[in-house]
């Protein structure tokens, strides 16, 4: 497993997301079909999925998806996990041999809860405890990589076309209420399994198409709040910003979206006084968190999914609704492929987030 | 509206142009005793001196009358004015009615009380005809006596000298140009005249023109006899008020007018050398027979005749004249008498520079500039505007005198054309 060490790799991509806002779970075959439709947008160097609601039997446990380079790495990783967590169940994630998929790492899954004594001695909230553990694991355990760590969700990713990755993980055997997918077109080779999307932090997952010109500023801003950004990917930055704003600062999701893709100053200038003050403050205080450059992202989390475009819409993004279902994708075809007759289909405006929340959950 | 202007010189032209600034339609008739389109009387000396021909004496282009819609009666003498019936009687007995009348008949030469003044060879020097007659006989070697060392006399003398005539000037006063120069300045000018072979006799006058029917010489008051072929009388002009003789129009030395150039009769105006108007320097009523006054008064009269209410506020004597290349500009009171006057002067004799400023109540009321006449108009302006010169009066005689010496506020108002309150 080659790690893209300290190299930020620009990439073009395809993204797709589907959600049942009533919380009904559905199979992963739809999302595979949808992302497969956009094969042209990937180059076989990365694909991945995030799925929510797939582990109802362990919904109180943090589900760790892990990549290991080799057996010693697994041993070291498990040593770390065992030290900090009580593991309820552990085992390899079932995969299927797919011809186009090669050089896969060891892929394991653990359902775990923080050890009471470790948690209380850390003085941290369990979520933060998990975050710190994930950061340490990635940093300190050579050859181990945390793919995802949220509750009742998981990320499945690797080097290959996304539909092949879906096949590899047999995602049609899982059912969830939110699915997001990513097909990657990195501009260098070879792809690294850990570098594929989605990028996750706890239950937050990000699939991202685009490149952040503001990466350097965003990263320095995050540094100040203790985020290290070791992955050197834009997507990591997006995930951390969402984590910072929504989890740590308790900000409404739509406000977080407005920080990342704020209105133009001249637009703000024309707003009513209240709104003007609101957006001026946002931009003033969070200027370095503005995501600049072309992007479309789908951020999913336990309660919902949002899709966001950069503020001048330099990447395509289409959304559709049918009943309780919400779809977002890089291309309309990827939605029509799995939802031929949507109630509504539209291209979200630049910087205007598409937000889908589970029934009864506030934004 | 029916306007009649009697006269055809500066005041008349000013009248026409004044009327036309206001009234483009009304009928204007000019009645002129002389048979010429308007010409510049001061230029007759240039003509005599051969500096220009008849064409260049024209004061306005020949299409002036047409352009301004003027009905021109040349060679027509107006005899009298009927202020009751508002008509003018011409020499032929014909009458012309008017609504508004401008009398701009100018001046006529004042003839000295001299025996034999009716002899042939005795000339005046006022009109174009005078100049032409004189020029016809002013041959090299001939001799002339000019009676009067004023502006007209000396210009005649200069013209004659330039024709090769031997000229003697007889002046009653103790200096030449006594109305515009003081003793010091007059002496410098006289020196220049004498350098150019003009003989100047002061404190004397001609008592008799000698000769049978044509003049052959003059006898001076002191008994001296001077042989000559011609005599030019130039002791002065007086307002030509003949036409209003016997009317109710108020005449003192000239026809008395108010600031609007109106006589005591509502629809009758007078302007130029015939008029007696307020002098802003002497602060009394005066006849000031100078060209700029004539035009300006005529223009003010014309505007008012056409319904405006313009005021003539520039009445004071000022003259610019040169003799043999020695220029001089003088204005206002140049030889003040009285303790209320403050006099500044300087001279550089070898350069013939002489400057003098006369101040009263911190206002400039007169000046003389000899040779260095540049920018003298600033001084004229100070007189006209009755400007307070106390802040810079020590600079008035400076070579580079100008606005830079004036207080900033005063200067800015003048130069920027804006008054800041």
């Amino acid at each position: 497993m080659l790690r893209e060490n300290y190299e930020r790799v620009p990439s073009g991509c395809a993204i797709s997301g589907a959600m049942d806002r009533s919380g009904q779970r559905f199979s992963g075959s739809d999302i595979i079909q949808s992302i497969a439709m956009m094969r042209e947008r990937s180059n076989g160097l990365g694909g991945g999925f995030a799925a929510y609601g797939i582990y109802p039997e362990y919904e109180d446990h943090y589900a760790f998806h892990m990549f290991y380079n080799d057996e010693p790495a697994r041993e070291a990783g498990e040593r770390f996990l065992n030290e900090h967590f009580n593991i309820a169940e552990a085992g390899p994630i079932p995969t299927k041999k797919v011809r186009s998929i090669a050089n896969e790492p060891m892929i394991w899954r653990y359902f775990a809860q923080p050890k009471e004594e470790k948690l209380s001695s850390s003085g941290l909230h369990p979520d933060e405890f998990v975050v710190q553990c994930v950061i340490n694991l990635n940093k300190k355990v050579d050859g181990a990589f945390v793919v995802s760590s949220g509750k009742n969700m998981g990320a499945f990713k690797g080097v290959g076309y996304p539909e092949d990755i879906g096949e590899f993980y047999q995602l049609y055997n899982y059912s969830g209420y939110i699915w997001t997918a990513h097909g990657r077109f990195p501009t260098n080779t070879p792809g690294w399994w850990g570098g594929a999307h989605p990028f996750t932090l706890l239950d937050l997952s990000v699939v991202h198409n685009g490149e952040l010109s503001s990466y350097g500023s965003n990263r320095r801003y995050l540094n100040e709040f203790g985020y290290e950004c070791t992955m050197q990917t834009d997507t990591e930055v997006v995930a951390y910003l969402f984590d910072l704003f929504t989890r740590r600062q308790g900000m409404p999701i739509d406000v977080a979206c407005k920080i990342m893709a704020p209105p133009m100053w001249d637009e703000i200038e024309r707003m009513p006084e209240d709104e003007k003050a609101f957006y001026t403050a946002l931009r003033m205080v969070y200027g370095k968190a503005l995501l600049n450059g072309p992007f479309s992202i789908i951020v999913a989390f336990k309660n919902g999914m949002i899709a966001l475009n950069d503020r001048i819409k330099l990447r395509s993004l289409v959304a559709a609704e049918k009943g309780d279902m919400l779809y977002v994708a890089s291309e309309e075809s990827a939605i029509i492929e799995i939802c031929p007759n949507p109630d509504k289909i539209w291209a979200p405006k630049a910087g205007e987030p598409v937000i889908g929340m589970l029934e009864g959950v506030r934004v | 509206m029916n306007y009649i202007i009697i006269g055809n010189s500066a005041a008349a032209v000013g009248g026409v142009e004044g009327i036309r600034q206001i009234d483009k339609e009304g009928s204007i008739t000019i009645i002129s005793e002389e048979p010429y389109c308007t010409y510049s009387r001061p230029l007759i000396s240039y003509f005599l001196a051969g500096a220009l021909n008849e064409d260049k004496m024209l004061y306005r282009d020949t299409d002036f009358y047409k352009t301004n819609g003027v009905n021109l009666l040349l060679g027509t003498k107006a005899l009298s004015v009927d202020t009751e019936n508002n008509w003018v009687t011409l020499a032929g007995g014909e009458t012309i009615g008017y609504d508004k009348l401008l009398i701009a008949t100018g001046g006529k030469p004042f003839m000295p009380p001299m025996i034999g003044s009716d002899k042939k060879g005795v000339y005046t020097f006022i009109k174009r005809d005078d100049a032409e007659r004189l020029k016809a006989i002013a041959k090299p070697g001939s001799k002339a006596v000019v009676i009067g060392g004023g502006l007209i006399g000396l210009k005649a003398a200069e013209g004659l000298v330039k024709c090769g005539v031997d000229v003697t000037v007889i002046e009653l006063a103790n200096r030449i140009l006594s109305t515009i120069l003081d003793d010091q300045a007059a002496a410098i000018v006289q020196g220049v005249l004498e350098e150019h072979d003009i003989k100047v006799i002061l404190n004397n006058t001609v008592s008799e023109a000698l000769g049978s029917d044509k003049v052959t010489g003059v006898l001076l008051k002191d008994g001296t006899q001077i042989a000559c072929d011609m005599v030019v009388t130039a002791i002065g002009v007086r307002p030509n008020t003949d036409i209003v003789c016997g009317t109710v129009i108020n005449v003192n030395r000239g026809i008395v007018v108010d600031g609007h150039m109106r006589t005591n009769i509502d629809n009758i105006y007078a302007a130029g050398d015939v008029a007696e108007a307020y002098d802003i320097v002497y602060e009394d009523m005066r006849v000031t027979p100078i060209w700029p006054n004539a035009y300006m008064q005529g223009e003010v009269a014309g505007r008012n005749m056409a319904g405006d209410s313009a005021i003539f506020d520039a009445g004071f004597a000022r003259n610019s004249i040169s003799f043999f290349g020695l220029p001089m500009i003088t204005a206002g009171i140049i030889k003040p008498i009285g303790a209320e006057y403050e006099v500044l002067s300087m001279t550089i004799p070898d350069k013939k520079i002489y400057k003098k400023a006369v101040i009263k109540d911190n206002k400039l009321v007169g000046f003389i500039r000899l040779t260095d006449i540049d920018r003298a108009g600033i001084l004229t302006g100070l007189i006209k505007n009755k400007a307070d010169v106390s802040a810079f009066k020590d600079k008035l005689l400076n070579d580079d005198f100008g606005f830079v010496y004036m207080p900033k506020k005063q200067r800015k108002e003048k130069l920027l054309g804006v008054k800041r309150i």
Binding site: E211, G216, G226, M284, V285, G287, K288, L291, G293, I312 | -
Partner: protein, 500 residues
């Protein structure tokens, strides 16, 4: 005693072009040119020439050229012409060498070792003529986070900020060191541009109060012209601790420059020397600074951000951190190439560190301490063009101060004789005859032109990077690469080498 110092410059006059119009004679305050009445020809006394090029610029026939005096000493890489001449000068005067403007010595200009990034393929560059491109910048203290109520309404009350249409401000230049027309040019340009100019330590002339909304009022060690009206007239206040051109020393405005208006503005007697002490005598430590910061805030009822300006010196990062924690809203750092109206030459040319290193170090230090987002950082000290600005911001500055380039825009020709008070361009002088040479109408227009041009260029560069708002450049060192720098220098600047 004969002077050993040779003329620094030679004035070349093309006799085929000279029309003896004497414009040069009238324009030279140093009396270099004169009309020789014996032959009616205009001639020059080269020894007096400072190469300000006023005459060259004004000569209507372009008959004049000024060149360096080619006279050399015997070649010596150590004892250069400059070194020898300085010894000669001090041997003749017994005085400290005084000079003006910024450090001219051949230290590395790091701006010129930095190159910028642009988008290719993976990220579209943005055309600033077709797409919005935002340079608006807010300077002032920012909270760690904003708080909202249940309905998403903003609860946090923000402290006062400066809002700039472009991340550029005119740096401190006092009335006294520069002419009133210079101050007015800067004030008017700042107002028109929607940016700020800084009064320097000379107070605020009564005629400039109307530009208060775009004024930063400085409070320096001499406290010249400081009074409640002055403080309240401005949009922000700045405590000047140090200046890049002369860190560690005070200022000295000679009495002959303290004419009536300067005296009234500075609140000192006419003709008296205006001496700023080296330190603020009420600031001997960081807690004293905090007291002054809050004294100024109290005096202005907490309506204005307070900046603290320091010279870039060895431990600038730690000092900046202290200033941030002392309550400053803005920290201005002035690098060692920053200009001055007058400074001892040895100080100017040898004390302080480059702004590029300082700003990188400060930004990183504050980031590491997690307080960078709280304060605004202004970089000063020889920003020469828009690329320097882009680089400064990418290194971590929020905005830059410019002064020398602003003066060049309004006529300065960098002759470095500000200290003589005979500035032929009407800038660093109080001689009324010279002051009026700078028409503030023209001065303001030239400044507006310069900044407008720079704004265009910055937008063009940002667009090329695929950035449409200046905040995404701030601290974005990914956009920089170093050329010809050592690894240590790259590390301090926090950038990679070109090709990495």
């Amino acid at each position: 005693m004969i002077s050993y110092i040779l003329p620094e410059f030679l004035v070349l006059r093309d006799e085929n072009r000279c029309i003896q119009c004497e414009v040069c004679v009238r324009q030279c305050a140093n009396d270099v040119h004169y009309l020789d009445t014996k032959d009616g020809k205009v001639k020059s006394d080269d020894a007096k020439c400072v190469n300000c090029q006023r005459c060259v610029t004004f000569c209507p026939t372009h008959a004049l050229t000024i060149i360096q005096n080619p006279q050399e000493f015997k070649a010596n890489a150590n004892w250069t012409k400059k070194a020898i001449t300085e010894v000669q000068r001090q041997a003749e005067t017994g005085a400290v060498l005084l000079t003006g403007m910024g450090n001219p010595e051949a230290y590395t200009v790091y701006w010129d070792k930095l190159v910028l990034n642009a988008s290719q393929v993976t990220n579209p560059s943005i055309d600033p003529l077709r797409e919005p491109m935002e340079l608006k910048t807010y300077l002032g203290r920012k909270p760690d986070m904003l708080e909202f109520d249940k309905d998403g309404k903003l609860l946090t009350k923000l402290t006062p900020q400066l809002v700039l249409n472009a991340p550029i401000m005119f740096s401190a230049m006092s009335f006294g060191s520069v002419s009133l027309n210079t101050c007015e040019s800067l004030a008017r340009a700042a107002t028109e541009l929607g940016i700020y100019y800084n009064t320097g330590e000379g107070g605020l002339h009564s005629s400039l109060y109307r530009y208060g909304k775009n004024t930063i009022a400085q409070v320096a060690s001499g406290r010249f012209g400081v009074n409640p009206d002055y403080l309240n007239a401005a949009a922000a206040l700045e405590i000047k601790i140090g200046q890049g051109a002369k860190p560690g020393i005070g200022g000295h405005l000679p009495g002959e420059k303290v004419k009536a208006e300067v005296a009234a503005t500075r609140m000192i007697p006419e003709g008296s020397d205006a001496i700023s002490p080296a330190p603020h005598h009420d600031i001997y430590s960081i807690e004293d600074l905090r007291q002054l910061i809050y004294a100024l805030k109290e005096a202005t009822d907490y309506t204005k951000p307070v900046s603290v300006k320091i010279a870039a010196v060895n431990n600038v990062a730690a000092i900046a951190s202290g200033i941030a924690r002392a309550g400053a809203d803005i920290i201005a750092i002035d690098g060692f190439r920053g200009g001055t109206g007058a400074a001892p030459l040895r100080i100017r040319d040898n004390v302080g560190i480059p702004i590029e290193m300082a700003i990188a170090a400060v930004d990183t230090r504050l980031k590491e301490e997690g307080i960078r987002h709280q304060v605004s950082l202004v970089a000063a000290g020889s920003i020469r063009n828009s690329a320097d600005i882009v680089k400064a911001i990418a290194l971590g500055a929020d905005a830059v101060y410019i002064a020398t380039s602003a003066l060049i825009a309004i006529g300065c020709h960098m002759c470095q004789k500000c200290n003589t008070g005979k500035c032929n361009w009407g800038i660093a002088t109080q001689d009324p005859q010279l002051v009026k040479r700078l028409n503030p109408n023209i001065g303001a227009r030239r400044l507006v032109n310069l900044i407008t041009a720079w704004e265009h260029e910055i937008k063009e560069i940002l667009g090329g990077m695929g950035i449409n708002s200046i905040e995404s450049l701030r601290g974005n060192r990914e956009m920089l690469r170093g050329v010809g720098l050592t690894q240590k220098e790259l590390d301090i600047l926090g950038i990679k080498a070109a090709g990495e």
